[in-house]
């Protein structure tokens, strides 16, 4: 209990942020030459590389869908990404879960019907982790997809809200994440505020849930601006 109280001292969080303040985010698009689209993201102490390949013929043949493309997503933490062990022998239970939910985020966004029988590969590699890597991974993969030219309806973003005591905090880092009473990562489409991913550990009241979603929608404006800037930077000379 004492540890939890230390997460908020004098109305400030462990790293001095306000409750609704994001960590600094930096995105660069088009960093991998061989990929169709790619992005490198730094979100606080998270470092994420995302790459997109395809659409190409889906293999093995039995996974093909005659009506639309399928998405294969691989989220992976580099063995050196955190103090805990990762990557000793392929994807673990957690990585498989995050790969699945990330895939479902992008199934809602990409116009899959244009490419029947194909597959689109999304690779997310966490190089350094400090809490909230699934949100960082989705945000990076969204930029990678947009820079690939694969048709999509929106550029999604993701971020988490946590609860310490009765206070909601946006975008927890690792210390806050492991000590908080609730953790709810959400991915949204900024154009319609549709929720395409929602997971939750712990519990929130109805009111807390509503204000958490509002907090995330608000922070999406900031994240969306950074995503847009990353994509625009690649082509700055045209409009100038």
């Amino acid at each position: 209990m004492t540890e939890k109280q230390q997460l908020i001292i004098d109305g400030k969080r462990v790293d001095g942020r306000r409750f609704d303040e994001l960590r600094p985010i930096k995105i660069e698009a088009g960093v991998i030459k061989n990929a169709e689209g790619s992005a490198y993201l730094e979100w606080g102490d998270n470092k994420v590389l995302a790459a997109v390949y395809g659409p190409k013929e889906a293999m093995p043949k039995h996974v093909q869908d005659p009506n639309k493309a399928i998405i294969k997503c691989r989220y992976s933490m580099a063995p050196f990404s955190s103090k805990e062990e990762h990557g000793r022998s392929g994807p673990n239970r957690r990585a498989i879960e995050i790969s699945k939910v990330t895939k479902e985020v992008f199934e809602n966004v990409i116009l899959l019907e244009s490419f029947p029988g194909s597959e689109i590969d999304i690779f997310i590699e966490i190089l350094q982790s400090d809490g909230g890597t699934r949100a960082a991974g989705i945000t990076a993969a969204a930029v990678a997809l947009a820079s690939s030219g694969i048709p999509m309806k929106d550029v999604p973003f993701a971020v988490a809200v946590g609860k310490v005591g009765e206070t909601l905090i946006l975008d927890q880092n690792y210390i806050e994440d492991s000590g908080s009473d609730a953790d709810m990562p959400i991915a949204m489409l900024p154009r319609t505020n549709e929720i395409v991913l929602m997971q939750m550990d712990g519990s929130l009241t109805k009111e807390q849930f509503a204000s958490a979603v509002a907090m995330i929608a608000e922070s999406g404006k900031e994240i969306g601006r950074i995503q847009r800037e990353a994509l625009e930077k690649k082509y700055k000379q045209v409009s100038a």
């Binding site: 490419f115 194909s118 947009a146 999509m152 550029v155 625009e232 082509y235 409009s239």
Partner: protein, 207 residues
Amino acid sequence: MNMKIIIPGDKIADGAVRMENAFVEDSKTYATVLGLLDEQSKAFIPLESVWYPREGDSLIGVVENVRNSVAMVNTNSTFRGLIIGRRGDSESEMNIGEVVSAFVREVKREADQIILILERPRKLFGGKLIFVKPSKISRVIGRQSTMLRQLETGTHCTISVGLNGVVWMKGGDVQLAIRAIDKIREEAHTSGLTERIAKMLASEAIK
């Protein structure tokens, strides 16, 4: 020109406009790819896109399989090409591994995938293949193929370009041609590229 950079999901027209690289929702039109919007003419030019074949497109591919005088062509995309040859015609016979250039006669939706029926196949012997993103190919060709002609005269290569993003080149200074195409790929979105490539070809060509 007043160009605005558009990312997927941005509104490009207030009404429902039927156009490429866009979709309509609630009678408004939104972009599906990264592109440039000309604010006066409301034209939307994609900066990145995936090649979606149309009838009459030229392409370059590699023969993957031949069965009963039908050759299957890998087109460097999710679409497989078919060249239907005449039986017993040894001249039009294809062999596995051969590079061919052809035109799309028909985009056919088969039971499990989209297949391209190809026509006017031409075998390309020897040479080197390089791959460029299909959205950058229009810059490699240039307006009225100025860039392509310039590359050919500057490097003395024979160059053939497919809209599927495959470039075949033979003879001449292939290494210089590859460097030039790399430069085009990197700077495809900038203006004055033809002059810069001309300068590069002039300074680096073997005297």
